[in-house]
Each structure stands twice: as structure tokens, then as C-alpha cells.
Subunit: 151 residues, 2 copies
DNA sequence: CTGATACTTAACCATGTGGTTTAGTATAGA
DNA sequence: TCTATACTAAACCACATGGTTAAGTATCAG
């Protein structure tokens, strides 16, 4: 039943797992619509390589392409991203919960400084993620208000 | 500079792109700690196959394994998930923004019926996506923008 | 018509992924 | 000590991925 969603998630996460593709999406996020060659220009790989990435993104439903004359412009679509977000959100509090227990010995690592946290979009989302956002980065942080799910 | 993060995202998204691995994570979310064989039991694949999945998850930093005697238990860690969330969040409104412009002709597609909308997490997100959420699943069957490759 | 531009297809290659079976190591228990 | 249990390692396979080069096809500009 939830199978279609499942496959959509597969493709979405798989599509997002490549830095080139994430960069492509990011550019489309800023420019809203770019031709294939404009899109490909900044990357050090061949056009066909970019084409394949665009195929993957199209396949995942993350972008659409429309041809006008001989040029093809790409634009973002959002639904799959949403699904991905939903999946992550669904388990978010479980993770934060576990994180608290693990925090002790996982808190080393090589993290770069808080990277801009650029958008206000964060504000909406933060309502859902604050509970762990705090504990995860600023560890220490006593038990977050997040509810204890199991047991 | 942001390179480490980048690779971490690669691995995180890649790890999440497999349904078996998502299911493993989900179970760990509910049980908090399970042995390798307990973890593997419900799945129709061989133990070594599960082992490989666990390798991938470990590699992505999504779980940790600790050995006690001859059994190995797995637990979740949360940071990579957070990063993934952050990445998605960062672009969330760009997408919804673009989606609004696209809504018109993207509203076909083959999406399954509104599937349970399981968590309240959705409510927060909806603030960002509502505007298109409605129009997006109208499903009207116009011209499928899905690529017409040949000819 | 000619040629450049914009994209697509095809063929190929190296590597990675998800799975198998088979064999191994290590610990718990009789 | 012997054996079952719990996990790991190795070798192999089919197929997907990310890249290449080279050869199309289609459209716009002269």
C-alpha cells in the first residue's frame, strides 16, 4: 500500500545522494529556471554526464524539463522533497531521543561551524526539529521536551 | 570546507535510499537497541545481506554497533539525519515557491492517494507547502511532461 | 542551403550495490 | 571438550551509476 511512496522515497533519496545533483537542485532553487547548458556550465564534467543527472532528477520527480525550440529549461518540483522531509520528520524524535543517550561518546567529530542556517524556512520547520536541534549540536542540554515514544 | 559535510550528506542520503535500510532504521527507532540477528529476522534476505546494509548505515554514521560477548547490538545515532533535515529545510521554501509556479501543469502525475498523512510533523511542514499541496494532487491528466525521448 | 548551437543517444568502461553461497571465527552452554 | 549460536569474511554475480567519447538530431542564424 505504501509501496509507491516507498519507491518514490528510494528515488528521491538516491537522487539527493549525489553532490552534483544537489548542486543542480540548489542552482535551480536560486534561478528558478535554467537551460540544460546553463545548468551544466559550472560543472567540470561533460554535458552527457549532466544529462544523466538530470534524468535521475526527472525520474525522481524532482525537476521537470520543457523544451522550447532547441533549448530545454529545467524547473524544480517540490513534492518528493516533501515526502523525504516527512520521512525524516517522522523519526526525528526517535533519533533525538537516542542521540541523547549517545551524546556522551559521539560528541567529538569534525563538524564545521554552524553553516549560515540561511533561510527563514527554518523557522517553520524548527517547530518540529527544535527539540533535537538543540541537543544535537549543543549537546549537554538536559532532556529535551520531545516526548518519550517507546516503552 | 563544507566538503566533509558534503560527503556525509552523500552517505546519509545514499543510506536512506534503500527501503530495507529505512526499515532497519525504523525498527531501531522503535526498539532502541537490537542485535544483528534480531534486526535481520523479519527480512527475507540472508544475514550477510543485512550485514552489508548495516555496514552502509554504520558508514553513514546512522548507527553504531557494540559487541557484547558474541552478540552485537545496534543503536541509532541522529546527527546525520539532522544534517539531511537541514539540507532539505534549507531549500524547502524555494521548492514550494517554484512549485506554485509549476502547479498548473505538474498537477497530473501518478501519485498515490493521500496516504494516511501519519504524523503531526506534517502540520508544521504544511505551513511551507500548503499553497501547492492542494493544487498539486488535483490530478487532471493533461499533457504528460514526462520526457518524450525519441523521434 | 550551410553551419553553428543545443541537446540527445549510443557504446563503452570502472566502480559500487545488493544479493547469493560457502566457509570461517568466537563465544555460550551442555 | 564438543557443539550450537552469533556474527564475519570471501568469492562471486547481475545490474545500476557516473563518467567518458563520438556520433546523432533538431532548430536557429546567415
Amino acid at each position: 500500500m505504501v509501496k509507491y511512496q516507498d519507491e518514490a522515497l528510494d528515488r528521491t533519496f538516491a537522487a539527493l545522494s549525489d553532490p552534483t545533483r544537489r548542486a543542480l537542485l540548489a542552482r535551480l532553487g536560486e534561478q528558478r529556471s535554467l537551460s540544460v547548458s546553463e545548468l551544466a556550465a559550472p560543472f567540470p564534467v561533460s554535458l552527457p554526464a549532466i544529462m544523466k543527472h538530470l534524468d535521475v532528477l526527472t525520474d525522481a520527480g524532482l525537476i521537470v524539463r520543457e523544451k522550447t525550440g532547441r533549448t530545454v529549461v529545467c524547473r524544480l518540483t517540490a513534492r518528493p522533497m516533501e515526502q523525504a522531509m516527512n520521512w525524516l520528520n517522522r523519526y526525528a524524535q526517535f533519533w533525538s531521543d537516542n542521540l541523547d543517550r549517545l551524546a556522551a561518546f559521539v560528541e567529538e567529530e569534525t563538524w564545521p561551524p554552524p553553516p549560515s542556517t540561511p533561510l527563514n524556512a527554518r523557522q517553520q520547520i524548527d517547530q518540529a526539529s527544535r527539540s533535537r536541534a538543540g541537543s544535537a549540536r549543543g549537546r549537554k542540554k538536559s532532556s529535551p521536551p520531545g516526548r518519550k515514544p517507546s516503552s
